[in-house]
Symmetry: C2
Subunit: 430 residues, 2 copies
C-alpha cells in the first residue's frame, strides 16, 4: 500500500494548470502498477444486502451529533438533541437528507401514516378544504432548491457558545434540499381568501402542535406545501409527509408535519413568536417577526478543528445564503480582514439556496485568519461582529456575558490557522 | 379518520387557479377539526435511534428491485441484479443516492478503504502521478448536476422487453445527482499529456477491472474525477471512493472505483467496447464508440401500472435528458400523437442533467395515449419508434423478434390509459 511507501520522491509542481500554486503532496511515480492493485474485499453483510435501498460506505462516519451535544448532555439538563449538519464534510450545495439539520423544540418525531394524514385550509376563506396526500399529488407541483436555517444558527446559549469549535457547531443549523410540492398560492386560490385575510397560521401534527404566522403576501409568493425532498418523500424529521417550505424565512416558519393552515386577520402570537424567536436588544426591547434571514456565509474547509497537512495549495471553499434572494458576491480574506478578493461562485447560483464558493489559496505555513463575506442581490453585505456591535450599541464583552438568545446573528466567521496547520474558531476572541 | 368518512360532500371546483380544470377529489369541509387530530405515534425503535444519520419513514417502500428482476430470477439464469431507479416515485430532478440505478457487469461491489485507494495517471505523459484521496480533495473542485444513463436503458433483452410494465422497468437505468470532484483537465495538465495522447483508458478497482476508452477532447472538456454525490461521499455502488463522471456519455464510460487513467494513442477495444456496447444493425454491421447519449424523455406519472383514481385534473410530469447538452423543449401528446403541446420545463434547466417537465391534463375518462417528446439544444428531436424503424430499415416485427442488444434506443414512450384509469406500456404494440 502506497501509504507505507514513504520513500517515494515528492516534488513541488508548478505546471500550467496550477500556475503559481504549489501542489505539496502529489507523488511522482515511474509507471509501475498502482498501489492498491490487490482486489479489494467485497462488501459484507448489511451493505451487500441493501440492494433495494442503498447504504453508504462503512468507512464514512460523517454525522449530525457533535461534541457540544455530548458536552450539554454531561453538564446540563437533558435536552432533545438539535442536530447539526456536518458542514465540514459538505461538498456541492445539496445536503443529503440523512444529514439535514433538525430542531424539533422538544417534540418527538411523529411517525405519521400518510394515508391517515390530511391538510385542512380554513379560517377567512370561502370554501374550507381538506386535502389528502393523494389529492395534493395530483395538483400542479414545482421543485426548487432552497436552504433552511434556524434563526438561532451560529449563536448558541452562552455556555455552548464558547465550546463551539467546528463549523458544524457554529453554523450546522442550515441545510439545503430540492423541495417538491404544490404552490400554496394555488391552494389559497382554491379556498378563496376573504377580505381581511392578511396572515396565515400554519400548524404541525406533532405533540406540541407548533404553529407559525406568515404574512399573506409571502404565502402567495413562493411558499410550497412540500411532500418531496431530494427526489423522495420528505424524511420524518423534516415533516413527513407534509412540510410548509417558506423560502428564505426562519426555519421555524417552515412548519413540519403540516396539518392545518388557517387564514387570519393578524399574527396571533403563537408559541415562541413572542418569546425565544424574538431578538432581544441590550436595552430590553425586542424585535418581533423578523422573518427573513440575512445574507450569510461561512468557510466550510478549512474550518475549525481541521488540520492542514502542510504548506502549499489548498482550495478554500464554503457556503453562502440569503433569505433575501440570490447571492451575488462572496469575498474571501486570508489575512485577517485586511484585504479581500472575490471568490468564485459555483453555478447554478439559485435564489434562497446555498451557494458554493471556492477560492484558491497557497498557504505559506504562517499563521493566517480566513474569513468569507457575502453580498446578496439587494446589495446587503454580511457584517463583521464589530459592525453588529455598533448596530447593537454594545461592547465586545457583551457576547461573552449575555445569556440572551440572539437570533439572526450573521457575523463574518473567522478561522485562525496556526503554524502547525490547526484551525481554530476565534470569533469570540476578536 | 377521514378516509372512512365517505358521506362527505365532494364537489367539482373551477376556481381561478385551476380555471377549466376539474379538481375531482378535493373534499369540502365546514371548519371542523381536521381529520387525524389525534397525536400520531412517536417513531419507534431504529427510526428514533438514527439521530446521527437519519432514515426514511417506514411507510415509504420505493425501491430498486422490480418484478422483472424477480421474473428473471425465476425463469432465467442467476444474474447480478442491475438495479433500476423507481422513476414512477420520482419528484424533482435529484435522485436520492440509495435509489440510484446500478449496473455492475457482474462484479461484486468492492468495499474500498479510502485510505488505501489512489489514482494513477500514466501512459503518454511527462510526469506520471499518483493521487491519494486527501491529495485530490485539496485541489480545485467543482460540483455539477448531471444525469447518468445506461446505453441499454429502455431496451432490454427480448424476454424481458415485453415484461417491462413500469417506467422503472422501461427507463429506470437513468438517475441524476450533484457530483463533486476535480476536473480531469486539471489533472491532465499536471501530468503533461504528450503529443499523440489522443485517448484515455479509465480503469476501475473492482474484480473485473472494467475499463473504458474516452477521447482526449472529452477528457479535457467537462469530465470530473468525482468523490462527492449529492453532498456526501459517493456511495459504494456508484464507485466509492472515486468515479469518473463523463457528462452525457454512456453510463459505462463513467468508470466506478476509478484507480487508473492511462493516456494512450487510440482506443484499445477494452472489454465490451467491441461486443455488447456496440450497436448491432440488422445488416450485421455494428456502430462502435457511439459515446454520447441521444435526446430522450419519458412521462413518469401517470406511467405503467399506475391507476388514475378517476376523471378530472392530473398533472402529467416526467423527465427529459440529452447527452448533447441542455433540453430546450418537451412536448406532450395526450391523443396518441395527433397533437402536441409544449410542456413547462422546470428551472433550473441544466446541461446534461435531468430536466423535469410538467403538463396540465384534465382527463375525460376515455381511453388516452400519453407521450412526451424532447428536443435538445442542438435541435435533435426524440424519434418515434416508427422513425427508428425507418432509420434502421426494419419492420415493426423486428423489435419483437430480435435478440440483438440494442443500445441508444431513445424512442418516444407511449402509455395507454384505459377507461378504468389503468396505465399500460404499449410501445411494442405500435
Amino acid at each position: 500500500m502506497h501509504s507505507q511507501q514513504s520513500g517515494r520522491r515528492r516534488f513541488l509542481k508548478s505546471g500550467a494548470a496550477l500556475a503559481g500554486w504549489a501542489v505539496g503532496a502529489v507523488r511522482s511515480v515511474s509507471g509501475q502498477a498502482p498501489a492498491g492493485s490487490e482486489p479489494p474485499a467485497a462488501l459484507a453483510g448489511s451493505e451487500a444486502s441493501s440492494r433495494d435501498y442503498g447504504v453508504r460506505s462503512g468507512f464514512e462516519t460523517s454525522g449530525r451529533l457533535t461534541h457540544i451535544q455530548a458536552w450539554v448532555a454531561n453538564v446540563g439538563p437533558p435536552v432533545a438533541p438539535a442536530l447539526r449538519t456536518p458542514l465540514q464534510d459538505s461538498v456541492g450545495i445539496i445536503t443529503p437528507a440523512p444529514l439535514h439539520y433538525v430542531v424539533d423544540h422538544g417534540s418527538p418525531t411523529p411517525g405519521i401514516d400518510p394515508r391517515q394524514h390530511s391538510l385542512l385550509i380554513h379560517g377567512l376563506v370561502d370554501r374550507p378544504l381538506l386535502f389528502t396526500l393523494d389529492e395534493l399529488k395530483r395538483l400542479p407541483a414545482v421543485s426548487r432548491i432552497h436552504f433552511l436555517a434556524c434563526a438561532g444558527n451560529s449563536y448558541l446559549p452562552l455556555e455552548q457558545r464558547q465550546n463551539a469549535k467546528t463549523v458544524q457547531e457554529t453554523h450546522g443549523w442550515t441545510s439545503c434540499s430540492e423541495w417538491t410540492g404544490v404552490p400554496l398560492s394555488l391552494l389559497l386560490q382554491e379556498v378563496g381568501v376573504q377580505k381581511g385575510g392578511t396572515w396565515i397560521q400554519a400548524e404541525g401534527a406533532e405533540i406540541r402542535k407548533l404553529a407559525s404566522s406568515i404574512p399573506m403576501a409571502k404565502a402567495l409568493d413562493d411558499v410550497l406545501v412540500a411532500y418531496g425532498q431530494n427526489g423522495e418523500a420528505i424524511r420524518p424529521e423534516q415533516g413527513y409527509p407534509l412540510r410548509l417550505i417558506v423560502p428564505g424565512f426562519e426555519g421555524i416558519r417552515n412548519v413540519k408535519w403540516l396539518r392545518r393552515i388557517k387564514v387570519v386577520d393578524r399574527p396571533y402570537m403563537m408559541k415562541y413568536e413572542g418569546t425565544i424567536y424574538t431578538n432581544l436588544r441590550p436595552d430590553g426591547t425586542a424585535r418581533w417577526f423578523q422573518l427573513e434571514l440575512e445574507t450569510n456565509s461561512v468557510i466550510t474547509s478549512p474550518s475549525g478543528e481541521q488540520r492542514l497537512p502542510g504548506p502549499g495549495f489548498h482550495e478554500i471553499t464554503g457556503l453562502a445564503w440569503s433569505g433575501g434572494g440570490a447571492i451575488r458576491r462572496v469575498e474571501v480574506s486570508t489575512d485577517g480582514g485586511r484585504t479581500w478578493k472575490d471568490a468564485q461562485l459555483q453555478a447554478p447560483v439559485l435564489a434562497k439556496a446555498h451557494t458554493r464558493f471556492r477560492f484558491p489559496w497557497n498557504w505559506d505555513g504562517k499563521e493566517a485568519v480566513l474569513q468569507s463575506r457575502s453580498t446578496n442581490e439587494w446589495g446587503e453585505v454580511q457584517p463583521t461582529k464589530a459592525a453588529l456591535e455598533r448596530m447593537w450599541g454594545v461592547t465586545p464583552d457583551y457576547w461573552l456575558t449575555t445569556t440572551n438568545r440572539i437570533q439572526h446573528f450573521n457575523a463574518i466567521q473567522p478561522w485562525k490557522v496556526t503554524s502547525d496547520g490547526r484551525v481554530h474558531n476565534v470569533i469570540w476572541e476578536t
